[in-house]
Amino acid sequence: MSKPKKHLQKVKTPIGAWVIFLFLAVYAIALMIPYLFALVTSFRSINDFREQVFGWSTPTLDNYQTLFDTSGSGFKYTVITSDGAEAYYDFIGLMVNSFLFAIGCAAANTICPCIVGYCTARFPYKFSNFLISLVYVLMALPIVGSTVSEIQMTQTLGIYDTIPGMWFLKFSFLGMYTLIYNASFKSIPNDYVEAAYMDGAGNMSIFVRIMLPLVSNTMLIAFILSFVSFWSDYSTPLYFLRSYPTLALALLNYTETVGTYATDQMAACILLCIPSLVLFACFTEKFTGNLQMGGIKG
C-alpha cells in the first residue's frame, strides 16, 4: 500500500529571508567542497592530481586497489599480538572491528538509558527519584580529564584493549537520553500495563513486548545517532583499543604514513564515510527531525 502524500503547505519566503537563503546556499556549497574534492580526487591518478589539484581527469580505480593491496602502501594497521608476533588488519578486518565497536557501543548507549529510564519511570521507588536527580546533577557537573584514570580502571578490570570492554565502557545511563526515555515512559498510560498483567504477562514481557515498541522510534534515533558517532570516533580506539583498531583510527594513522599519496588518502576517506552516508540516506528524517520527549519537544 503506498504512503499518502503529505499535503505540503507552501510557506511564502519574504525578501529578507532570500538574503539568508543566499548565504545558506553559499555556506552549504562551501561545506560540501571538501567532500566533493575527496570524491573526485579518489578517482584520479597522483600524477594528474599533482599537475592540477582541482580538476577532472580520466577516472581510475588504482587508488582503491592500492588500499586493498596490503603488500604496498595499502590501508592496513599493524598490531602486536599477545605472543609478540607482528600482525596487521587489512581493510575488511578494520571494517569488522569498526562494526563490532560501533554497533555494540551504540546498542549499549541506547539500551542502558532505556532500561534506567523505564525503571525510574514505572517503578516509583525513592531510589528512582534519586537516580533521575543524579543524572541531572552529573550532567551539570563537569568532570574533565579523567581519561588516564579510565585507562587504568579498564586495565585493572581486564577490559582494556577488548571490544566487549568498550561496550561496557559505553553502557552508561548518564546523559540526556535517560531523561528522554524517562519522560517517554511516564507519558505512556497505565492501561496497557494493567491489561498485560491481567493476561498474565510478567515484568520482562511487558517491558519487551509493550513498552519497547512504544519507544522504538526514540530508540532507533538514539541508536543511529550513536552508531554514526562511534563509527567516526577515533579517540576511544586510540586510548583503549590499540589491538582492535577501527577504520577511523587507521585513517588517522594512514594520513601520516610515509608513502601514502593524497589520492590514496582521499580514497580511504571516501570508504570510511560510506556507512555513515548510507545510514543518513535511509534515515534522513530521523537524523534531522526532533526527538519526542513525551509531549515535550526537545
Binding site: V11, T13, G16, A17, I20, F21, L24, A28, L31, M32, P34, Y35, F37, A38, T41, Q52, V53, F54, C112, V116, C119, F123, L131, A140, P142, I143, V144, V148, S149, E150, I151, Q152, M153, F168, S172, G200, M204, S205, L212, P213, S232, D233, Y234, S235, L238, A248, L251, L252, T255, M266, C269, L272, C273, S276, L277, C282, F287, N290, K297, G298
Partner: protein
C-alpha cells in the same frame, strides 16, 4: 526500512516470550506463580534490582571508581616501570606552576582552548540561531539545506580535516595563482595565516552542527504565540527577537552551560590536524591526547590526573557562575519561577 526493523524486534520479543511460556509450563502446578499483591511487589522488586544491576555496576566502576582513582592518581608519583609509587603534591605544584607561569605550553594551550571556545560559541551562535529560525519557519529549500548542513556532523573529523588540509595547502595556492598570476603560499604553510585558518575551520564547521539543537528548541514554541504576534503586525525580525529568542532561552542557556563544560578541555580537531600535516594550535585537548598517546608506560598519568582535577575545579566554577548569570538574564524569569513552584 522501519517495518523491517519493527519485524525483527517483534520476532526477538516473540522468541523470548515463547521460551518463558514454555519454561513456566514445565514447572509443576504448585510452583506456577500465583497472582497476588505481595507476590507482584516482590516480583517488581526483583525485576527492578536485576534490571538496574548492570547499569549501576557500570556507574560504580566507571564513574565513581574512575573519579576516585583520578583523585588518588593525582597524588602519586611512579618511581619505576612496575608502577611503584610515592605520595606527593608534586603533580599539583607542576600544574599550577605551568598554568600560571610565563608562556608555558600549558598556559598557551589553556588560552587557545578558551579563545576557540569563545569564538566558536559567540561568533557562531548568532549565525546558527538565524539559520535555525530560517528552518523553523520552513522557508525556501529548508529541507534540502538542513540535510546538507547536517552532513559534516555525521562524517568523521579525520576525513574533514584531511580534505581541508589538502585544499588549504595544495588547492588554494593553485587557485590564487590562477586568479592573480602570483605564486601563493598555502594557508597552513604561511605562518601568518596558519593560526587564523585553523580558527576559521573551527568556526566554519561548528556553525553547521549547532542548528539542530536550536531548531529543536524553536519547534517547541506554541504556534499560537507566533500567530498572535503576526496578527499584531510583528515582522520576522521582531518575532525573532521578541518571541523566539526569549522562548528558547532556557534551552539556549542549557546549551551554553553544557558547552562550557567542554570549554577548557576541547581539542578542536588539532590532533587530527597534527597527524594530517603537523600544523596545529596547542589546545588543552590536544595536549592531553598527545601526552597520553605518547606515554606507553603510564608514568605521566599522575600529571594528567592532577591537571584534569584542576581543570574540573575551574570548569565547575565557570559552569555555576554562568548558570547564575544566565538565570538572572532570563527574560521570562518570573514565569519560569512560577512553573517551578
Amino acid at each position: 526500512m522501519k517495518t523491517f526493523f519493527r519485524r525483527i524486534g517483534r520476532a526477538v520479543g516473540d522468541f523470548f516470550y515463547d521460551i518463558s511460556c514454555t519454561l513456566s509450563r514445565l514447572k509443576p502446578p504448585s510452583k506456577r506463580p500465583v497472582s497476588g499483591m505481595k507476590t507482584k511487589k516482590r516480583k517488581d522488586m526483583i525485576f527492578y534490582v536485576c534490571m538496574l544491576a548492570l547499569p549501576l555496576l557500570q556507574f560504580g566502576l566507571m564513574w565513581v571508581g574512575v573519579n576516585f582513582n583520578s583523585i588518588l592518581l593525582s597524588f602519586k608519583e611512579y618511581v619505576d616501570a612496575d608502577r611503584n609509587f610515592v605520595w606527593t603534591l608534586k603533580n599539583f605544584a607542576d600544574v599550577f606552576q605551568n598554568l600560571f607561569g610565563e608562556d608555558t605550553v600549558l598556559l598557551v594551550s589553556l588560552k587557545n582552548s578558551v579563545l576557540l571556545y569563545l569564538l566558536t560559541t559567540f561568533v557562531t551562535m548568532p549565525t546558527s540561531l538565524i539559520i535555525s529560525f530560517y528552518f523553523y519557519k520552513k522557508f525556501a529549500f529548508s529541507r534540502a539545506l538542513k540535510i546538507i548542513l547536517f552532513i559534516p556532523s555525521i562524517i568523521s573529523s579525520v576525513v574533514t580535516v584531511t580534505c581541508f588540509y589538502f585544499i588549504a595547502d595544495r588547492g588554494y595556492p593553485q587557485i590564487m595563482e590562477m586568479l592573480t598570476g602570483v605564486a601563493t603560499e598555502g594557508l597552513l604553510v604561511n605562518s601568518e595565516t596558519r593560526t587564523p585558518t585553523l580558527i576559521l575551520y573551527n568556526i566554519f564547521y561548528s556553525m553547521a552542527g549547532n542548528f539542530l539543537f536550536y531548531s529543536s528548541a524553536m519547534s517547541g514554541i506554541d504556534n499560537s504565540v507566533s500567530e498572535a504576534a503576526q496578527i499584531d503586525g510583528a515582522n520576522l525580525v521582531q518575532e525573532f527577537f521578541r518571541i523566539t529568542l526569549p522562548n528558547i532561552y532556557p534551552m539556549l542557556s542549557t546549551f551554553l552551560v553544557a558547552g562550557l563544560a567542554g570549554a577548557l578541555i576541547g581539542d578542536y580537531g588539532m590532533y587530527a590536524f597534527s597527524k594530517a600535516g603537523g600544523s596545529a594550535i596547542d589546545t588543552m585537548g590536544y595536549y592531553f591526547t598527545r601526552g597520553i598517546t605518547l606515554d606507553t608506560t603510564g608514568q605521566t598519568y599522575p600529571h594528567f590526573a592532577a591537571l584534569g582535577l584542576v581543570l574540573s575545579a575551574m570548569t565547575c566554577v565557570l559552569v555555576f557562575s554562568a548558570r547564575a548569570i544566565l538565570n538572572r538574564l532570563d527574560p521570562f524569569r518570573d514565569q519560569h519561577k512560577e512553573v517551578k513552584a
